[in-house]
């Protein structure tokens, strides 16, 4: 998981400065992924360099808020739209992606869930195909490795099914984000309910 996309997702809610981003990031990920403020500012600098965020004038307290650019929005949309490959996945990325998708305006969580389910199902089919082709007794160690991957993929699909069922019943409580405007809150609720 790139911190980069996490910050972009948070800025899509509204402009924020470094400490707010760190707090919101930890809140979104249930504090399973602590960030230090240095990582936040390094990432913001890179995002700015790449034209994905833009700094705003400093507050009186010396805090400089950032806002997401159109290019940043496009980059974020692409991240949400692209399933993660099992091969090179850092472990937590999917759950964090879904948690952020639920609180990011304009993201249809169910589409994210379905895209991931198709991709993981596809992996499961490939693993099963390999298993079916490895039917000699001496293939057993390899078959068991494949089984491990099969069960991991199955668990992920079951979890995605569970997420989808939970989303049907989900009604978020109105929340006041750090710099969110009233209009954004309404918009976010509408998106989550789709």
């Amino acid at each position: 998981m790139s911190i980069r996309h996490g910050l972009l997702a948070l800025l899509e809610r509204g402009q924020m400065y470094g400490y707010q981003l760190r707090a919101a990031f930890e809140e979104s990920t249930g504090s399973t992924w602590p960030l230090n403020i240095g990582q936040v500012y390094t990432t913001l600098n890179r995002l700015e360099r790449d034209g994905l965020v833009r700094p705003l004038p400093e507050h009186e307290g010396g805090q400089r808020p950032y806002e997401i650019t159109d290019a940043g929005r496009a980059d974020l949309a692409l991240w949400f739209a692209t399933p993660i490959s099992r091969a090179d996945r850092p472990r937590d990325e999917l759950s964090i992606k879904l948690a952020l998708a639920m609180t990011t305006p304009g993201v249809d969580v169910r589409t994210v869930v379905q895209a991931q389910r198709s991709a993981t199902m596809r992996t499961l089919q490939e693993l099963t195909r390999l298993k079916y082709a490895s039917d000699k007794p001496e293939d057993l160690p390899w078959r068991l490795v494949l089984d491990a991957m099969v069960f991991q993929a199955e668990a992920e699909i079951r979890w995605l099914d569970h997420c989808e069922t939970s989303l049907v019943r989900y009604r978020p409580a109105p929340r006041a984000g750090p710099t969110r405007h009233a209009g954004d809150v309404e918009h976010a609720d509408e998106e989550v309910h789709r």
Binding site: Q114, R117, S118, T120, M121, R122, L124, Q125, E126, L127, T128, R129, L130, Y132, A133, V150, F151, A153, E154, I157, R158, D161, T165
Partner: protein
């Protein structure tokens, strides 16, 4: 291959509505699906998504409210009852979670029954039944009654009955039922082998691990097909892709 070389099963914009007016339940809404010879398609979705309805329509056990179902190029809607019954007996095999084995008949008699109903002679039907039982690993058990067999063996008898003769289309609804994971896997292995030998198969399941045996997986939600995985590459490509 079929005479036309086309798909064995072809669902064209199929709708199925139960009831009418305000009480109408739309079990399927505009589903299209083709299954080619040698292809196993899994249908996944939560309860009430229309999976089993799709299977009963594909098997000619129910008719669509709108749209068309073709099996080996024949549109089921234009067949009369006798023709439809003959097609079901000869060309379509069903494996259900509920095995529907007749307790008063032996395994071989259960498997031979659809052939005998179709007018095949007793001896020829028995020969075909024993061959089908051998295909599912039950050589020598044809004389046993269902209650003398384990759950896994009974399920194999039900599969032999679905495969006996020249079935071109095998329809399975949660065929592993309450079987343990090894026995369930063996059942899917059999289904896969028959499909690899040229039949077309449709497997309805809510278990992702079972759907993994399919060449394609389609997802149903509220009677609509919302997504499908692309057909798989060959094993050779998968192996080179996995770095082995």
């Amino acid at each position: 291959m079929t005479a036309t070389g086309g798909p064995v099963l072809d669902l064209r914009n199929v709708h199925r509505t139960h009831g009418s007016g305000g009480a109408a339940v739309h079990a399927l809404r505009g589903v299209s699906l083709t299954v080619a010879p040698g292809e196993l398609v899994a249908v996944m979705g939560p309860s009430g998504s229309g999976k089993s309805t799709l299977l009963t329509l594909a098997g000619g056990l129910d008719s669509p409210t709108a749209g068309e179902v073709l099996v080996e190029g024949a549109s089921l809607g234009v067949l009369d009852r006798q023709e439809l019954a003959r097609l079901r007996r000869r060309r379509i095999g069903y494996v259900f979670q509920d095995l529907n084995l007749l307790g008063s008949l032996t395994a071989a008699e259960n498997v031979a029954l659809p052939l005998e109903l179709d007018g095949v002679g007793v001896r020829a039907a028995r020969r075909a039944a024993l061959a089908a039982l051998a295909e599912v690993g039950l050589t020598g058990l044809g004389g046993r009654f269902p209650d003398q067999m384990s759950g896994g063996q009974q399920q194999r008898v039900a599969i032999a009955r679905a495969l006996v003769g020249e079935r071109r289309l095998v329809l399975a609804d949660e065929p592993t039922g309450a079987l343990d994971s090894q026995t369930g896997e063996a059942v899917l292995h059999l289904l896969r082998r028959r499909v690899d030998a040229g039949a077309a198969g449709v497997l309805v399941t809510h278990e992702a691990r079972h759907a993994g045996w399919a060449d394609r997986v389609v997802f149903l939600r509220d009677g609509v097909m919302v997504d499908a995985t692309a057909p798989l590459a060959g094993v050779e490509q998968l192996l080179s892709g996995s770095g082995r």
